[in-house]
Amino acid sequence: MTTSSPALELRRVNKWFGAVHANKDISLSVGRGTIHGIIGENGAGKSTLMSIVYGFYQADEGEILVNGSPYQIDNPQASIAAGIGMVHQHFMLVDTFTVLENIILGVEGSARLAGGLEHARAELARLEKEYSLEVDVDAVVGDLPVGIRQRVEILKALYRGAEILILDEPTGVLTPQEADHLFRILNTLREQGKTVILITHKLREIMAITDNVSVMRRGEMVAHVATKDTDREKLAELMVGRSVLLRVEKDDAQPAETVMSMRHVRYLDRDGVSRLKDINLDIKAGEILGIAGVSGNGQSELMEILGGTLRPSEGQIIYKGEDITNSANFNARDLRKIGLGHVPEDRHRSGLVLSFSAYENTILGYHDRPEYNKGTTLDNSSMIAHCEKHIEKFDVRPTDPTLKASGFSGGNQQKLVLAREMEQDPDILLVGQPTRGVDIGAIEFIHQQLIQMRDAGKAILVVSVEIDEVMSLADRIAVMFDGAIVGELDAKDATETKLGLMMAGVKEGVEA
Amino acid sequence: EDFKPAIIFDMGGKFDKSFNEAGYNGAEAFKKETGIEYMEFEVTQVSQREQAMKRMARKDASIIVAMGFAQANAVEKAAKANPDKKFTIIDMVVDLPNVQSIIFKEHEGSFLVGMAAAMKSQTGKVGFIGGMDIPLIRKFALGYEEGAKYANKDVEVFQNMTGTTPAAWNDPTKGGELAKSQFDRGADVVFAAAGGTGTGVYQAAKDNGKFAIGVDSNQNYLHPGTMLTSMTKRVDVAVQEAFMSAKDGTWQPGIKVLGLKEEGVGFAVDEHNKDLITPEMTAKLEQARADIIAGKIKVTDYMSK
């Protein structure tokens, strides 16, 4: 091994999934002690490539060199031995285990756990200090917020002695504060001479932290550039193959009547924990109301109540001037009938039935609509026709309505859900995390669609953990913290700092 | 021309260690004596009963023996459909001109072993373990209880049934536990009429130093010293005779009731248990046997209660 050789080098790597050529002749070189970004549209092959490096998948052709010497990486064990660690896009943690148990899994040390656990506890204390990665090692992972889970993943890699750390879309689920913290950690890692590979859809992050960036499109590597020699527009164009608008272009809102409001709404969960505290909110036609906040501060419950799947413990829900709190109509099914659309925060968990075809997902929540039924029978041809229309209008790829939902990429799944809810032409649309995990080309499109709806006089509520998104999309912003709304402000007055403070629980106007 | 006897065993299968196996033994004895092969079938599904009879009729069986009360309906149908064929059913009456029904007075045999149990018991408590709570088993139980009470009017008789599914006939573990529960309550002699479940009962008696009474065939050999006696029900003889008489041409339709008098039921004394049955007991048992045959003792038949 020579000091000048790159930490990781890929030569002409190829990977097929059946007929899909997911990685075509990929070559890549990552210098030691650098942060290397990889960007690309949904389905471009980024995760696949990194899974190959990690030994989770095997390349069909090609070579992998670690520190200049060829390495046969055909299982994660080999890559761990080669000093590679990976934080997967979907976390690879056992929810029912404690942090400590998760970390030692696979490197327990001895047949008895006790010794391994003690050793790990001491070692983790050291790592935590060195990289300021505080976690409660005895907490059960399932109870932790995503940001902390990610730290656990990073600790897991470091504990295994990773010199090269791969992160696949690490900020997709993080709040800005959490993301900032992550970047500080990554910087520390770089200072310590570790190598980081970062996959992300957020060009801002690429510009802010990487040394070099590689761009993938449709399974191919289309460019390698030094970050300092490029900018966001150029990268976006490389990625999508055309120029992309990175800002939302919109006129001023014309707010009209209030469509839905919440009055003194409280919600106690099954364990009696107060999740929503005295929420008052008006959602107006012709306006996009954005809810900003660190995830886990009550947004999910808020969405569920407005969507009719949860009942408030106290307070009123007023819909089109009528108090529906205690009406029989206050449920997800009937709310849809009277004009509510709902794009849930988590498309996998609730927005889609992954094992159903796209067209069967087209009617989820609307399956009793006359247009999908002939008498008692579901009208498959009508379902397919509607789905085809959605696919065309929202540019979903692939264009096959009979393909299972699980076969679409996350971005395209998101478009399917959005299409379903928007094409019903609701009077009010609730949208949770509209663009999570979605590439910039699709973000542009989704944002345009939302603005168009607003301009058509619909009421829209957007919940997002992306400050950027809320700021550029919303006309009015409410910030949630600890189950309460800490403040509301006009989008024009919003700045990142202001919002950031409010999201941390500091009341509006009270400067820290 | 060819003589082709046939026998259809019921659900328990021909090796059920009791009723069906006795029939099997009878058929085997016939084969040994005459060298004539017989057709056989073991039923596993309710509707196979009738089907098996049809098959055998089609194969030109000279006589078809159906084992067990559950086959009555099938015999009835098959006998009507094949009026020229001979049928013998064991344990049930089917009143047709080409059917011979052989039934046993199990209550009489049970009465005697009940007496034996009560006389042997030190504790004045004896037990009965049946397979399933159905009339046939109650017939055993009632005879047993009457016998026990006859020998000792203060005797306490515990009764247990194994289960409600077909598994009840093949659950020695449960049988053993039921026996132990009766031992715990003070019983020191148990009588099992529960098919394969019985083996567990006998084993438990042996393990706990108590006495057990076998059923259907002579099971004394299973655990010499533990098996007090067996309530024999000579199904083997009945089957063998049915075959034999059909061969000789002496087979007669109608009802044959086999009780103590006909030696169709009884209790077994052999080299394995002769030390357990005292002369005094033998005397009383023989007296009771004579009284029952003479009609001096009336044993209640559960079926005609």
Binding site: P76, T96, E108 | D171, P172, G176, E177
Partner: protein
């Protein structure tokens, strides 16, 4: 004192009946915790019961019989693993297939080898595990309560009962305090996490199923060479399913599962003693309803107290990372 003695005897029966359930449920725990549904406990027990009785009879040693039972049960478990892990087969179907094949094969072989109508010959003496009298059991019998309990309830079981009793803490230890247990628990929750941690999922599941086979082998051997004294066809009589129910009842955790087994066994022992007994107020209940008591009680308990049982998350799903 009278009632106390009845109670002790009842508990004594409970222990005997619970033993195969506990062993089989612990066996099922390893399989299911590793993410493999095992409704084949029944077949494995039956196969082991046959093998144990056959080997014990032929060799004259109960211990060799036990080894034989374990070997057969582990082989069947290996078959289950081959179908479910290597070939991603449907786990329920595989378990059922094993149950059915064994139900047919054991009497066939028994008949071929012993000519006793699908049974093995009765075992006596050393062919069988006999009761052990613990030290001082007889000496302390007359000490009220404690001594009696010791002599009746604690002492006087065969070795496999004590093994079953020890199996619970041992299994709990393995599951919660060892590397193997950690990995088994992990793979049943999230096999992807295990795979990315550099552990081969299939090997791990094979290992877990071997433990299942081992424990199930003891359970089956108990039936034919300890509790009973011969193999009889279908002698498991649904105990495998009951063990599975206990496992779910106990939420896949060792100690609650053991209590579920004890509960099933207790109601069974109780039911034997309630048949034909005049109960206060209601009189003698028809025997069929007494027999249904354990099942009714289970349903009531489940509905009333136990709450939702959350199974290992990855259970029943073959692990396929790429196709």
């Amino acid at each position: 004192m009278e009632y106390f003695e009845i109670f002790v005897l009842l508990m004594d029966a409970t222990l005997r009946v619970a033993t195969p359930l506990v062993l089989a449920a612990m066996a099922g725990m390893f399989s299911e915790r590793s993410g493999i549904v095992d409704i084949g406990l029944e077949g494995k027990m039956l196969g082991a019961a046959f093998a144990a009785a056959a080997v014990a009879y032929v060799t004259g040693s109960a211990w060799l019989g036990l080894l034989g039972g374990i070997a057969v049960s582990m082989a069947l478990s290996g078959l289950h693993a081959y179908a479910c892990v290597t070939h991603n087969g449907n786990q329920v179907v595989s378990g059922m297939a094993i149950n059915i094949v064994v139900a047919g094969l054991t009497p066939t072989l028994a008949f071929a080898w012993f000519r006793q109508g699908g049974q093995t010959p009765a075992l006596t003496g050393d062919d069988r595990f006999s009761s052990l009298t613990l030290p001082f059991a007889e000496a302390v019998r007359d000490i009220p309560v404690i001594g009696y309990t010791y002599a009746e309830l604690i002492s006087g079981h065969n070795i496999l009962v004590y093994i079953a009793a020890a199996a619970v803490p041992i299994c709990a230890y393995i599951l919660y305090r060892t590397r193997f247990g950690l990995r088994v628990r992990a793979v049943g929750e999230n096999p992807h996490a295990v795979d990315t941690a550099g552990i081969v999922v299939s090997h791990l599941r094979y290992q877990a199923l071997m433990v299942t086979g081992f424990l199930c082998g003891i359970a089956g051997s108990y039936l034919s060479t300890a509790h009973g004294a011969a193999f009889i066809r279908d002698m498991t009589a649904g105990k495998g399913y009951l063990a599975l129910a206990a496992l779910i009842f106990g939420k896949w955790r060792p100690v609650p599962t053991m209590f579920a087994c004890l509960l099933f066994a207790f109601t069974d022992a109780l039911q034997a003693r309630l048949q034909g007994v005049d109960l206060p107020l209601v009189g003698a209940i028809p025997v069929q309803f007494i027999q249904a008591l354990p099942y009714v009680l289970t349903v009531l308990l489940l509905a009333g107290f136990v709450g939702k049982a959350i199974p290992p998350k990855a259970i029943g799903e073959p692990y396929i990372k790429e196709r």
